[in-house]
């Protein structure tokens, strides 16, 4: 018998909002967080735009001590700590205890925690000044830096780890946390993911020629998932965080319950068939979505809303085709679907968690946010699903069951199913 698992806290650091309230308002109104970066232009990037969360010096000091901020240069850890601590505060979990909290775990993923810090260190090291690195390089460059910081700030003493599965990382973290609690091995898990900002992260994608390069003068129009004029992805950064908790623990504490995690699945296409390092294997994608629905004990007909991966590349229509096949629904029978990447860009390892935060907020408040920049819906998509299933303006509607999937480099997939919490199941 699995424990039921619910969400009792949320935190977000996104290019279009660095608090739950600001983010909620902006996704309702289709506000883009994509801007032009002169530094990318100076570095000869094809794509000179991106999404970067703006954190004021004052806000940093709400989360970090002066000593922690000394020689601090890891935006990934910064975003992850802010989102993570916000989720804990939202869930009203006490983090000031003297003793380790054996029931609280952390599963917080990333693609890299602080490339800027790494660069700083490499320059000093190559000058023969390894002794000048000081104490801050290891913790700010190791992948698990974000969980290490969060552990010290919370006393979490159950599982403490950092997962990494490219752009599936955030969704995978939620599924890992869900399984841990469902199996009775933890009561609460702070989970989510973060991705640092900047040219040293984004450069590799620019070189792959997968980024939007035609909209440098019109940044808010650049990220165009599902559009006929989609021109590639726009890079982003940030973090999303959740408190997952056993229903029993949440009830005992009288915690606010946002939604229930009904189930999920992860898999890989093995880079076989049409799958490769960079392309998903559709058979695997469909298996992953179906596997998540089986795990959640729901059918395709039950899904009210899909938060797509939808990156604004030529693969968007393939993704829609895979959803149609997995849910056995198409045309006007298809559920609502949108892409947060239209507003924040592709936040890479953080994309899954930020997009799951958006999913939960839509369930909580009963709306589907506008998927901006796809007024010219791709004909291949129009051929598959009703055009009104992709909202151009916010639609107010209850969402009882939502599906979210993320797909990553290496041919990895993750799909999670959320349900509105009801006492019966």
């Amino acid at each position: 018998m699995r424990n039921r698992v619910v969400i009792t806290g949320l935190g977000v650091v996104a290019p279009n909002g660095v608090s739950i309230n600001e983010f909620t308002e902006n996704i309702k109104n289709g506000v883009s967080g994509i801007t032009h970066f002169p530094e990318l232009e100076a570095l000869n990037f094809s794509c000179q735009i991106g999404g970067r969360p703006i954190i004021s010096e004052e806000k940093k000091r709400d989360y970090f001590t002066e000593l922690q901020l000394r020689n601090f240069n890891s935006s990934g850890i910064m975003y992850g700590v802010i989102a993570g601590m916000d989720a804990l505060r939202d869930a009203k979990i006490d983090v000031d205890g003297e003793d380790p909290n054996w029931d609280l775990g952390i599963i917080f993923g990333t693609g890299s925690s602080g490339v800027d810090k790494f660069r700083e260190a490499i320059y000093k090291l190559d000058e023969g000044k390894v002794r000048r690195l000081g104490s801050t390089v290891v913790v700010q460059t190791m992948m698990s830096g974000v969980t290490a910081y969060l552990t010290g700030m919370t006393g979490a003493a159950n599982v403490v780890t950092t997962n990494s599965s490219a752009c599936a990382t955030g969704t995978e973290a939620i599924i890992m946390a869900y399984e841990r609690i469902a199996n009775g091995k933890a009561k609460q898990v702070l989970c989510g993911s973060t991705n640092d900002y900047g040219p040293y992260i984004w450069g590799g994608f620019d070189a792959l020629k997968v980024m939007a390069y035609k909209y440098n003068n019109n940044p808010t129009k650049a990220s165009r998932p599902m559009s006929e004029t989609a021109n590639g992805l726009v890079p982003g950064a940030g973090a999303g965080a959740f408190i997952l908790e056993s229903l029993e623990s949440a009830k005992t504490r009288g915690a606010k319950i946002y939604a229930e995690v009904l189930g999920g699945a992860v898999n890989s296409g093995g880079q076989r068939g049409e799958g490769s390092m960079t392309a998903p294997n559709s058979i695997a994608v469909q298996r992953c979505i179906k596997g998540a629905m089986t795990d959640a004990e729901v059918s395709g007909a039950d899904i009210d809303y899909i938060n797509g991966h939808l990156t604004a590349t030529i693969k968007d229509s393939t993704e829609i085709k895979n959803w149609c096949a997995a849910l056995e629904r198409s045309g006007n029978d298809f559920p609502y679907i949108n892409s947060l990447k239209s507003m924040v860009g592709h936040c890479l390892a953080a994309s899954g968690s930020i997009e799951c935060v958006a999913t939960i907020l839509q369930m909580q408040h009963g709306f589907v946010f506008p998927s901006i920049n796809c007024e010219d819906l791709h004909p291949e998509i129009v051929a598959l699903i009703g055009s009104d299933k992709v909202p151009q303006k916010k639609i107010d509607t209850p969402i009882n069951i939502a599906a979210k999937a993320s797909f990553g480099f290496g041919d990895v997939n993750a799909c999670v199913i959320f349900g509105k919490y009801t006492s019966k199941k």
Partner: protein, 82 residues
């Protein structure tokens, strides 16, 4: 450079690394940096770098090994500065 001058220059460096619950008044020449002031031992390497910058000197691994108290630091600095 007098002991007083060195101490005055050293004090703000040490202060930077104090845990939030330790008051700056707790710093005395006899204070053991990690035992008495509860400074995280990992920060000793940062204190060494700050001292090098402030006094324009370079500390050897042997110096760093003997560094325990504020007085130890003053002694090491005194021997290095002309």
């Amino acid at each position: 450079m007098t002991t007083e001058n060195i101490y005055a220059k050293l004090l703000p460096i040490v202060k930077t690394y104090l845990p939030e619950d330790v008051n700056v008044n707790a710093i005395t020449p006899e204070s053991d940096l990690t035992e008495d002031l509860n400074i995280n031992s990992v920060n000793l390497v940062d204190i060494v770098l700050d001292v090098e910058d402030a006094f324009d000197i370079e500390l050897e691994n042997d110096d760093i090994e003997t560094l325990r108290t504020v007085n130890d630091a003053i002694g090491i600095i005194k021997a290095k500065v002309a």
